[in-house]
């Protein structure tokens, strides 16, 4: 099939799915925020509670349309959303889109660094495990992967801080830059130093599934006819995997990793609030604690978009790296999501069930 026509059909299929997923997500999100027993007026008034009387509260509620029927409120929210207006954040005293625009680069750099770190560590350990299958390196790596899969990432972050920041004093424990400097004064070296611990924390979520997936894929390659042939000519397992086997293992690994990128975002929420990283995750926590509903909704929408893009990239990467997939009818992609193929199955290992 021709590449361009495939690409067009691929995007059409995606758009079609968006068409019914997005409205449902909107309704779900609105419902969740609306049923919260958080009084928006109270959240807005906050500490000035003594200065605002009941009549004023009523006036605020009416001005915000809180007394209108719920469906009307929903439609009004949707209307604003379509015009690109996400509302105003009470905590940051700025519009939600401004807060998001100011904060997403920090989150993206953190998640991107964690993504690469997890990919390098996960695939190399997976390849080593496959090459030494059944022997002690494999056993150690697998035990490591299982332990990592159930490790509370935020606890490991605390240990990192205790060891590298407090005892050894090698790395900073807070923020994305040294305090007291303007953005222009911060050197790239300083930024990297601040990035190491948070990125390591976030990457933990992604490593375990990658190890197991790469190991299974590479093991499958070593069992195959091509590898058997090369082995008959005297090739050893590890060089085989690093040479001709690499494409077999890395392509699917990248797909799995991209599809699981959403969980990295989840991990970044915890990491960002531990390290006071000025990103979206930290803003989410503050919004949820402070009852800042518009910000919470805005961040949730931004996260949804990020996950969707991650999945899109995952599918594109899979098709780019494996021409066999391109020749399959697209409908199968949906069946693949439901059915438990190895891809979705192992990508979701950290988040849940078998």
């Amino acid at each position: 099939m021709k590449w361009s026509s495939w690409l067009i059909r691929f995007f059409l299929e995606r758009m079609q799915r968006l068409l019914w997923l997005v409205p449902l997500a909107m309704v779900g999100l609105f419902t969740l925020i609306r049923i919260a027993p958080v009084d928006p007026v109270q959240a807005y008034v906050g500490a000035r509670v003594a200065l605002v009387g009941p009549e004023q509260r009523q006036a605020i509620a009416t001005a915000w349309g809180l007394n209108d029927p719920i469906p009307e409120q929903f439609l009004r929210w949707l209307g604003h959303l379509l015009r690109g207006d996400l509302g105003d954040s009470m905590l940051f005293n700025a519009s939600v889109s401004e807060v998001i625009m100011a904060r997403w680069p920090a989150s993206l750099s953190l998640i991107g660094a964690a993504f690469m770190l997890a990919f390098v560590v996960g695939t190399s350990l997976g390849l080593i495990a496959a090459a030494y299958k059944g022997r002690w390196p494999d056993r150690i790596i697998r035990a490591f992967a299982i332990t990592l899969a159930v490790s509370p990432g935020f606890w490991l972050a605390l240990l990192f801080i205790a060891l590298f920041a407090v005892s050894l004093g090698w790395l900073p424990a807070c923020c994305s830059a040294p305090p007291g400097l303007t953005l222009g004064e911060v050197t790239w070296g300083e930024r990297l130093r601040h990035l190491i611990l948070p990125a390591a924390t976030v990457s933990i979520v992604g490593i375990a599934p990658l190890i197991m997936h790469t190991r299974a894929r590479a093991g499958g390659f070593l069992e195959g006819a091509a590898a058997r042939h090369l082995k008959a000519h005297g090739a050893r397992d590890l060089p085989l995997l690093l040479g001709p086997g690499l494409r077999h293992a890395l392509g699917p690994a990248l797909t799995v990793h991209l599809a699981g990128a959403g969980e990295l975002i989840g991990g970044s929420v915890l990491a960002e609030s531990i390290f006071s990283w000025p990103g979206l995750g930290e803003a989410t926590v503050r919004a949820a604690k402070g009852g800042d509903a518009p910000l919470l909704m805005g961040v949730a929408l931004a996260t949804l978009a990020m996950v969707f893009i991650g999945n899109l990239l995952a599918d594109l990467a899979a098709h780019l790296l494996d021409p066999r997939l391109r020749n399959r009818p697209l409908g199968e992609a949906r069946r693949r999501r439901w059915g438990l193929s190895h891809e979705s199955g192992s990508a979701n290992m950290t988040g849940g069930q078998p």
């Binding site: 606890w155 240990l159 205790a162 069992e223 926590v285 919470l296 949730a300 069930q353």
Partner: protein
């Protein structure tokens, strides 16, 4: 107990078909029973100790503030002079309770939704959409939203971890049910005039029960980890109740003064409980998986 859990994890053998089957030290079934015994001992131990700790042992005692781990206080003491071993045990007891509840609720939801989806096409579509919606957001962000919607606190945590862990098990069950219902022996049974109920009881249930049991056990570790994460951020269990998340968020403030034991031991306890259930669930799944072959 640590060594045992690790042994179990290490003993797990790969099973690639073309390799000659190597005798592992433990059969799959024995391993499942052993890891189950470890997990249950751990949990029961925690629960029993937590239930029998007298209320006044957690008194604030300025004389024993911030002691490093010693024989008298194995896990050290906190900023108020309370013994960390006791606090950790109490908190683990609470974690186990919430984890258990979440696992029960989520398993029940998955069984219902998975089965409904496997019989009816319209229901299948609806459950499929719901699954995609739930998996569309990162799990932790979803947990925060549900906890927020439920008003936070213990209720928020319980609802959040209980209502968000079903999609994956539901998927597995639907898949399994469809596979069985499409098989030849079910067609033959129907042809022989067996009632749908008979087919469900004799053919479907034997396939689903192991999956449900393994799924139940595997939800557990994720539920307790998520509970700890939410409480750590201050979106879950309030600070005056025992909770690993609360203990760890306290310890974050004390880390700068070098009180590493406040974070190390409680987290380790949480990790061990989660790990023992993960290993138990995984070996249960392997022991009951007909495709695994080696028993």
């Amino acid at each position: 107990m640590t060594d045992l859990a690790q042994d179990v994890a290490l003993a797990e053998e790969p099973s690639f078909p073309s390799e000659p089957v190597r005798r592992s030290r433990l059969s799959v079934r024995r391993r499942a029973m052993l890891s189950g015994a470890v997990a249950l001992t751990l949990v029961l131990g925690v629960l029993i100790v937590a239930a029998f700790i007298p209320a006044d042992t957690l008194r604030v005692n300025p004389a024993t503030r911030m002691l490093a781990p010693s024989l008298e206080h194995l896990f050290g003491t906190d900023l108020l002079g309370r013994d960390m071993l006791l606090r950790t045990t109490l908190a683990l007891g609470q974690s186990v309770g919430i984890g258990l509840f979440a696992a029960v609720v989520s398993t029940a939801l998955s069984v219902m939704l998975g089965l409904v989806a496997s019989v009816n096409r319209v229901a299948d579509r609806i459950v499929g959409v719901a699954t995609e919606l739930f998996l569309g957001l990162p799990h932790f962000v979803l947990l925060m939203l549900v906890a927020y919607a439920a008003g936070g606190g213990v209720r928020g945590v319980i609802l959040a971890v209980g209502l968000t862990h079903w999609p994956r098990l539901a998927r597995v069950l639907r898949h399994e049910a469809q596979r069985v219902m499409a098989s030849d022996y079910v067609a033959v049974s129907r042809g022989l005039g067996r009632s749908p109920l008979w087919v469900a009881r004799r053919h479907l249930l034997p396939h689903l029960i192991p999956q449900i049991v393994a799924g139940f056990v595997l939800i557990f570790p994720h539920a307790i980890l998520h509970e700890a994460g939410l409480s750590f951020l201050g979106l879950g269990v309030p600070p005056h109740l025992p909770s690993i998340g609360v203990i760890l968020s306290e310890s974050l403030r004390a880390l700068g003064s070098g009180l590493w034991w406040l974070a190390f031991f409680p987290g380790l306890g949480l990790l061990l409980v989660a790990l023992s259930f993960e290993v138990f669930g995984e070996s249960l799944r392997r022991a009951t998986d007909p495709d695994e072959g080696v028993a």
